[in-house]
């Protein structure tokens, strides 16, 4: 009987792995398709060639052609994403430490929690219109600063929400012990809390980086040709009279580089971060 059971078990596992292979194929096939398209000539794509001679022409044009702003857009994305992510992580860390580890009246904590919830529920187009009006009134529209501040405001609640679950895991006794030993606030934060929060900060930072890199509606509203980010640049390809599909494909592949790096090196943190906010 044991033999029969283990045989059936093996067969089930084979089916399940087959199911997983199918899922991974469905996930990866579109990426393979766009990567292949990015190495084709426009004619070869239009002809639907399966076999083709790969060309780097599209990448060359996207990156180095005089009419292409893509390198500028890429730089813009790097600037906006890294500055706003750093701001979000630092501000959320201190705010979270203060809110979740020290005594505040309940309504103060609740205001922040409700803000977090509201900002996750409201479509960002509504916020984009709110920021656009304000930025235009003070002459900051189409400026880096407006988008950096907007991304910081947009993602701060989510960072607070994520960090809250990590703060809860730090045993309070450690802080109390450090305090009894005469540690100042600065020492406490630097030597005790920060090291313990490192995994949480990494998860939050990586996730917010990805969100900011991918963010589209607010970037669309607050930038122009000079300050547009990568998603804005790719959207522009799709809006042209005659779409340069292969160049759009090359631009798309380049835009996914940060995501691939994150998946390679920070997958653990991504999974932790994405589940922390929801499950806990």
């Amino acid at each position: 009987m044991n033999h029969a059971v283990s045989k059936r078990y093996k067969r089930t596992t084979t089916y399940l792995i087959g199911f997983l292979v199918l899922a991974v194929f469905t996930t990866l096939a579109p990426f393979v398709y766009i990567a292949m398209s990015s190495f084709k000539t426009q004619i070869s794509l239009l002809m639907g060639d399966v076999a083709f001679t790969p060309t780097l022409m599209n990448y060359d044009e996207v990156l180095f052609d005089r009419t292409s702003d893509y390198l500028q857009n890429f730089t813009n994305s790097v600037v906006v994403t890294s500055i706003s992510t750093s701001l979000v992580v630092v501000i959320a860390f201190f705010a979270g430490y203060s809110l979740f580890r020290m005594r505040w009246p309940t309504y103060v904590v609740n205001i922040f929690l409700i803000w977090s919830m509201a900002f996750n529920l409201i479509p960002s187009v509504t916020l984009a219109s709110a920021w656009y009006d304000l930025a235009r009134s003070v002459g900051l529209n189409n400026d880096y600063i407006a988008l950096i501040l907007a991304h910081t405001t947009l993602h701060l609640p989510m960072a607070l929400w994520l960090l809250a679950s990590f703060f809860r895991e730090i045993p309070r006794e450690l802080e109390d012990a450090a305090y009894v030993d005469g540690a100042s606030f600065v020492t406490l934060v630097r030597r005790v809390v920060t090291p313990l929060m490192m995994p949480g900060l990494m998860a939050t930072g990586i996730l917010i980086f990805v969100f900011s890199w991918n963010e589209f509606p607010v970037a669309l509203a607050l930038t122009n040709n000079d300050t547009g980010t990568v998603p804005v640049a790719i959207a522009k390809y799709a809006q042209e009279e005659e779409i340069k599909y292969t160049q759009m494909a090359a631009a798309s592949v380049l835009s996914a580089v940060p995501a691939l790096l994150v998946l390679l090196f920070g997958q653990r943190f991504i999974v932790r971060g994405l589940t922390a906010g929801a499950v806990k």
Binding site: T12, T13, F19, L20, V21, A23, V24, T27, L28, P30, S37, L45, L46, G48, I91, A92, F94, A95, S98, W104, I111, F112, I114, W115, I122, P123, S124, V125, T126, A128, S129, W131, Y132, D133, L134, R136, A150, T152, T153, L156, Y179, F185, N214, F216, P217, P231, I234, A235, Y237, A238, Y245, M248, A249, S252, A256, A259, V271, T275, A278, V279
Partner: protein, 292 residues
């Protein structure tokens, strides 16, 4: 309980409070004020004319907004259900395969990390009626192709497929975490009692997962209701209004038609609806005693 340094406590929270006050609250209040005006820009200066509640009254007669609400509800219901069902099946498969499923898990979540606009670009290529992969495959087996995004009958379904593909991994991740934290002894007890795999799933595993399934559904529903990037790139709301969604209506009215007053009224209405939902949710939470 140690007595904490209150200066550090206040200073730590100050930057977040400033952002909340000046970049979250103030713009929304401003939006509220603008929504009662007709806005025009004359040589770089803003001109605001008071129109009372006219902008709000106009919402009822906006065909674009009506179509947007209708389509958004369909997207939320269909896409979210599909994501939860597929995500749950994959989560259960991964958990019963065990450690050998690790590489699969990593690859399955890839779409989550890619910009929505890029996802749109990828599928725009695949859906293309002349050279897209779907029609190429159909042609190669002797069937005629179809203009997936260009015909009103399939455009919304095509958008939903993209959303399912893009966000199913999120449902998968949340449900996998839930499946992995299930107590093992219960399912073992069911096995010893002679339950078949189906009975075990139906009577033991599934009921234990209901709370997680509900949470996942809620999370995804909220995110799906904000769908914008994919629609922007794939269809721009068309053909006609067949893929118009709420976020896109606001974008069109506020930015493309430069109708800031009416666009603000739409935004404020959405924020109002969301606030009502939050209040209801908070009260429900409180009465169930789950606020921890």
């Amino acid at each position: 309980m140690a007595h904490h340094n209150s200066l550090g406590k206040v200073l730590s929270l100050t930057p977040a409070v400033l952002i909340f006050a000046f970049l979250a609250l103030l713009p929304v209040i401003n939006l509220f004020i603008v929504s009662f005006h007709e806005v025009s820009w004359l040589g770089g200066t803003k001109q605001m004319d008071w129109v009372g509640v006219d902008n709000y009254v106009a919402i009822g007669d906006d065909p674009l907004f009506k179509a947007g609400v209708f389509n958004t509800i369909i997207v939320v219901l269909v896409a979210t259900t599909a994501q939860v069902v597929i995500g749950l099946a994959l989560a259960l498969a991964c958990s019963s395969v065990g450690d050998r499923s690790r590489p699969f898990r990593a690859l399955i979540i890839l779409p989550l990390l890619i910009p929505g606009i890029v996802i749109g670009a990828i599928w725009r290529l695949m859906y293309n009626s002349e050279f897209g992969i779907f029609n190429l495959v159909l042609n190669s087996i002797g069937l005629s192709g179809h203009d997936w995004l260009g015909s009103p009958s399939t455009a919304l379904a095509a958008v939903i497929v993209v959303d399912v593909w893009h966000w199913m991994p999120f449902a998968f991740l949340l449900l996998l975490a839930a499946v992995e934290s299930l107590p093992r002894d219960v399912s073992e007890a069911a096995k010893i009692d002679g339950a078949t795999a189906w009975q075990e799933f139906r009577k033991v595993t599934l009921p234990l997962l209901y709370p997680a399934i509900f949470m996942t559904f809620l999370f995804r529903a909220v995110m799906a209701s904000k769908i914008f990037d994919e629609v922007f790139l794939l269809t721009g709301g068309g053909p006609g209004t067949s893929t118009e969604v709420v976020s896109f209506t606001i974008f069109q009215r506020y930015f493309l038609q430069d109708n800031a007053g009416y666009g603000s009224a739409l935004s404020v209405s959405i924020i109002f609806v969301v606030s009502v939902i939050i209040v209801i949710a908070l009260n429900a939470n409180k009465s169930k005693g789950l606020s921890q």
